[in-house]
């Protein structure tokens, strides 16, 4: 159904687009995120309901499956931790 992603930049761009679309963040705020930027608990838009939407939307756009046991506070702590996870999933 979907072709595999093979580019780290593409995963990064997809993750930023998902944060923008799901959380309703501005382009500027999304562009300013770096690997150390805190996410869950730091962005008021990023509540528990938004986490569910974010994970499902990432699955849809990256063509991956995320198991519930893979989701914990560490995963969502920073932009970098989420990006590392998304790359490992999408580029394996």
């Amino acid at each position: 159904m979907t072709a595999a992603l093979n580019d780290e930049q593409e995963v990064d761009a997809t993750l930023r687009a998902v944060l923008r679309d799901v959380l309703g963040l501005s382009e500027d705020r999304v562009a300013a995120l770096n690997e150390a930027s805190p996410l869950f608990g730091a962005l008021p838009e990023f509540d528990s309901m938004a986490v569910a939407g974010l994970l499902t939307e990432l699955e849809e756009r990256l063509g991956i499956l995320i198991e519930d046991h893979e989701v914990d506070a560490d995963l969502l702590e920073t932009y970098g931790s989420l990006l590392t996870f998304a790359r490992a999933k999408a580029l394996q």
Binding site: M1, T2, A52, E57
Partner: protein, 217 residues
Amino acid sequence: MSASGLGYGRYRIGGSDEWLMRIGDPAAPAVLFLPPLFEELNRTRALMASVMRLLAGEGLCCWLPDLPGTGESERALEEVSWEAWREAARASVDQPRATVALRGGALLDDAVDTTCRWRLAPVSGNAVARDLARAGLMAEGGGGYAPSEAMITALSAADLGTAARVRTVRLATDRAEADRKVEGPPLWRRSEPQNSSELAASVASDILNWMRQCGAC
């Protein structure tokens, strides 16, 4: 009744009366809207109303049913079966010219007696069930939607029906196959309900074109 007339109707299903929202002249050709399921319904209500108003302006009458156990329904969601939702899709409007299904609503459109089906970002029943489970896990202290185990089991097994005249439109960001991709935000993901007049306009014009191709209007 003006072309943009707003009204409410009732339909009878499983021994109870359920509500339908109507936008358009009730004498005009009927279009049945099948809403996204569970939480996504609330997030897309404004988008659906915008699309319904635009189509009403083109001489159509749009109907949006409250599925049993949702909206103004007097039935409890946990007592409603998946088959009751399929039956509701079939019974709410008599032989609509077309169905417009969003997301999980597309799992119901093959139950409807029509010859023209249009879908926005349709999803499998399994994906809806997983989303529901995940949202339940995330929402500490419960809350949200709690359908019966039987409903979840039937939903998980539900696939998108195939029919001769089905058109699928997806957002440009969605990697799955579609007849057309349109620019716009995935409003069904936003925890704060929002609307997009651009998305509503491109959706409405695509529906209208497809209905003309089907000979449905």
